[in-house]
Subunit: 332 residues, 2 copies
């Protein structure tokens, strides 16, 4: 399988270098680490908001560093957690004395290494709170998790927590709004093709020419159902109904929707999915407050998509609609 | 080949519906057409800037409709020009009495149909000027063109012309800056895989598992060289040297660079390419004023990338750095 890379061992290092080179006025890499922070941080008087995890999900996470979102992010190797040392360096670099919220996707490695880092940081006197994102409604436990996986809904946690921190809220308040997103967001994904990791160079799992997989994770983890190829509308129906069932909406809520590409999916197809998604929102008596379509949380070159819905109240609308200025997401 | 679509005959219609549904406060579709315009247009006192062409290059063109870029865009079927009637409807809808600049990518169908539309619009009293973008340095003539192809550099023409129009310039001035971009921009692309059109459902051309193609177009047109797989750095060297040779820089210019994904390329790989590109810019004594990395002008699900460089002066820096607020490109 062909890729635009050099030595697979260097891919994360070179990617981070290329990302910082694209945004030298925004991003700074901590020397001898895979940690990227905002170039002008830490900001006096502001709670730090940080995240991180395995690479291969770009623009997650470093693409969301900037005004109104993250102060920094640690990148692990492809589909591998950053080390506790890297997470600790991240937390230290993003603390301006007001404490740090760590947004953790629910994977065993990320949770364990972040927790170790937090213990170390707290011994140095840094206040750290955490929120664990587990928005994937497909499976209760999985290959890499106890409990549900954290996937594309994580972006909304970054956005809400980042906006609250930018508004000057204290650490408890920043944590509270992050948890509010976690409590009100659900995601389900599907794959047309497997991803191919740079190291392995071949598909992580086999899908036949006439097969797709529903309920897939973002690391090629098995889904809930392997089925014959379905139309875009049928796929959208299946994903959306699963998310709505989990969110338990009663029918007059406002929602933010995301159609997320998995890395190898053309925008044309994402918009075809969004067309049906918006019709379903309407059929359920819900109202779309904002609809995002694009590559937010990818799985290398996987073809497929996920659908995220977040049920909103006035506070979440204010935070999710607040200004943000990051490489991958800008709101005015 | 699997795609997230319904009936291939409906894909453009459904994509446009999904795009407008994602941006109901920005975009409006003219009834019974594949023409999308800004919802609040035409703007009194402002020159209109329009573009269009075959579908399959998303977010090109409708993704660039909004403040500081396009007033509207016509979408043809996949890789097919819009009709003259659609182009005429576009021009009419985007004229506020100050005239319209049509930005045309150099493909025979687009040029012919836009020219017919312009004759019709001028008979109705609309002033129309045109600029033809031919930034692809790979080939002098091609399958669908006399002269060079128009590819990713077109986005910079939209940006500069849109900013000039937003600043209140007249039609001649808007055309002048658009032509200035055309005169100073070059692009070259490459493919790891062929695109697959919804209609045909199989690769447009065959590339072996160990082959790549340099100098490729955005419709699966043949490139200049089929070669063994190369590293990302070698690919970047080949594309960049071709572009620099064409631009004939003397070594202390400022440039805007674009690493553009062709639709099926993960961001990780684009950043790896950008790393090498920025090193080459530096080696040549040039200075990068801004570096864009992402999917700007795609070819359905093709894996690969293109590299664009635009040589800047103070006027172009002001225009390319001016605010813009569109679905696919935002600058504050």
């Amino acid at each position: 399988m062909k890729k635009l890379i050099n030595d697979p061992d260097d891919v994360v290092d070179e990617m981070l270098e290329g990302m910082v080179a694209a945004h030298p006025d925004r991003l700074r890499r901590l020397p001898d680490t895979q940690v990227v922070v905002r170039d002008d941080g830490p900001l006096d008087g502001k709670v730090g908001v940080v995240s991180g995890g395995g690479s291969g999900h770009e623009p997650t996470h470093a693409g969301y560093i900037g005004d109104g979102m993250l102060d920094g992010a640690a990148a692990g190797d492809v589909f591998s957690s950053p080390t506790a040392d890297e997470f600790e360096a991240l937390i230290d670099a993003c603390d301006a004395g007001e404490g740090v919220l760590a947004v953790i996707k629910n994977y065993e490695g990320d949770v364990m290494n972040f927790e170790t880092a937090i213990e170390l940081a707290e011994m140095e006197g840094v206040d750290v709170e955490t929120v664990v994102v587990d928005d994937d409604v497909a499976v209760e436990d999985s290959l890499y998790t106890s409990g549900r996986r954290g996937v594309c809904g994580t972006i909304l946690v970054h956005k809400a927590a980042g906006a609250k921190a930018a508004a000057g809220a204290d650490l408890d308040e920043v944590r509270r709004v992050a948890q509010k997103v976690v409590d009100n967001v659900g995601t389900m994904g599907m794959a047309l093709t497997s991803c191919v990791t740079p190291e392995k160079g071949e598909p992580t799992f086999d899908l036949g020419e006439d097969e797709i997989e529903l309920g897939i994770g973002i690391h090629g983890e098995p889904g809930t159902e392997r089925t014959d190829v379905m139309s875009a509308d049928e796929v959208t129906d299946a994903l959306t109904e699963s998310v709505l069932e989990d969110l338990d909406v009663d029918g007059d809520e406002e929602v933010l929707t995301i159609v997320n590409g998995m890395g190898g999916t053309p925008q044309m197809e994402l918009f075809v999915v969004n067309r049906r998604l918006q019709a379903l929102v309407d059929e359920h008596g819900l109202e779309t407050w904002d609809a995002w379509v694009g590559d937010y949380m990818t799985s290398l070159d996987m073809a497929g998509c996920s659908i995220t819905m977040c049920v909103l109240d006035d506070e979440l609308k204010e935070l999710l609609g607040a200004p943000a200025d990051t490489p991958a997401l800008t709101r005015q």
